[in-house]
């Protein structure tokens, strides 16, 4: 028999074999990665013990890798943000007036103290009320010749927007105490971006105070100047950020988008928004596990596969609850 005829015969035998015995086509099928194996009576390969060990190692490496990445490439990972002083100021006063307290007025000395505190945190790379040199928030306030009777400080970082900042402070008892303190008359804000602990982020400093001598209270025109100056800085930053964003767009889009970008809000855009990236990976992963578990339940019932495993319904309940928990996680830390 010629070699050609032998090959043809062998191929026909193989085809005949798999038609008689479906399990022989297993090596050509990747289906058992996703559904339970009827003969082995086990879960899908992607839900096996080995698979879970790989998943655990993957997320462990994400945790460790993220920290290591910021050490070698500081400022690449960060948090997108769009925070404005006027919004913070208005929302703070709304919280106060809602409980019958008077509005706070923006004070230039408190504003400068907040700015200096924010710059100090970036230059010495710390996230705390007291600097590594031992400077307390009151030292920054006194350095601006604000002789206070009462003073306080709230800090925030990694937030996306002004509303979340104020809500986070409001929902924390100690920070709420500052927001709704009847002894305070004035306030100062700083919204500064930079690289803190390896991450590109925006730090918000909120300083409260009441001067010992009430004749030193800020005037309405002081407040207007502060708001005007803040608006100008934010607009200038918006042009810088948007110019950079436009320059990085492909040529055909550059003519279409610039006006929309110019009209849009100023946004701090790191190279990689780490919070959203890792949250996205986590959410997709849990949805993927839910899909596999659901497929497991359906396929096992359809083909009458009795597996010696844990209760898939219990796993599904746990995964759905976990998905809910993951979706509530939001970036932003307060101090």
């Amino acid at each position: 028999m010629s070699a050609h005829l032998l090959r043809k015969k062998s191929k026909q035998l193989k085809i005949a074999k798999w038609r008689r015995d479906p399990s022989s086509i297993e090596k050509y099928q990747f289906i058992y990665y996703f559904v339970p194996h009827p003969k082995k009576q086990s879960r899908a390969t992607l839900l096996s013990t080995k698979a879970f060990i790989i998943y655990a190692l993957f997320f462990l490496s994400v945790m460790v890798g993220q920290k290591a990445f910021t050490r070698f490439f500081p400022g690449v990972l960060g948090y997108a943000s769009n925070i404005k002083i006027k919004e913070l100021y208005d929302m703070t006063n709304r919280k106060r007036t809602a409980v019958g307290l008077g509005e706070l007025r923006l004070n230039p000395a408190l504003t400068r103290a907040a700015e200096k505190k924010a710059q100090d945190m970036f230059s010495d790379d710390y996230w705390a009320h007291t600097s590594p040199d031992g400077d307390e928030p009151w030292d920054f306030i006194l350095a601006e010749d604000y002789d206070y009777a009462y003073a306080g400080e709230n800090l925030a970082k990694n937030f996306n927007n002004s509303k979340d900042v104020v809500e986070a402070w409001y929902n924390s008892p100690s920070h709420k105490e500052n927001l709704l303190n009847k002894n305070y008359e004035e306030i100062g804000f700083a919204v500064v971006d930079g690289v803190l602990n390896g991450y590109e982020t925006t730090v918000v400093v909120q300083m409260f105070g009441k001067p010992k001598d009430i004749s030193h209270l800020a005037t309405a025109s002081d407040q207007e100047r502060i708001l005007e100056s803040a608006a100008q800085k934010e607009a200038a930053h918006s042009v810088d950020t948007n110019t950079e964003v436009v320059a990085n767009l492909p040529k055909p889009l550059q003519n279409v988008l610039p006006q929309q970008l110019k009209d849009s809000e100023p946004v701090i855009l790191p190279a990689i928004d780490v919070a959203m990236a890792i949250k996205g990976i986590g959410v997709v992963f849990v949805i993927y596990l839910i899909a596999l578990m659901t497929l497991d339940i359906w396929y096992s019932k359809k083909h009458g596969i009795a597996k010696v495993t844990g209760h898939t319904w219990a796993h599904l309940m746990f995964l759905i609850a976990s998905l809910g928990m993951l979706l509530t996680l939001m970036p932003g830390k307060i101090l």
Binding site: Q66, N158, S172, F318, S322, M330, P331
Partner: protein
Amino acid sequence: MESKKHLNYYIILGVILALLSYPFIWLVHNYTVQSIGAGVSSLLFVTWAIVHHINEGRVRKTVIGEYILLGVVIFFVVFAILTAL
């Protein structure tokens, strides 16, 4: 009767998971409490599984191992996100 007992276990699991969702809904930026909540969720899930399977007379290393691994993986997912926030 058997299926009613089975259902009771699932109701208990549902209540545990609902209670442990509290720190995630009401303490949104309190990452320490949320990390502890995630750890406790995984631990209680595994504990529930062990108790349930003992009562069913179906305790096997592979079965319990599956619950432990799932609990650990989900804890790592939540913790990885919390460290990034």
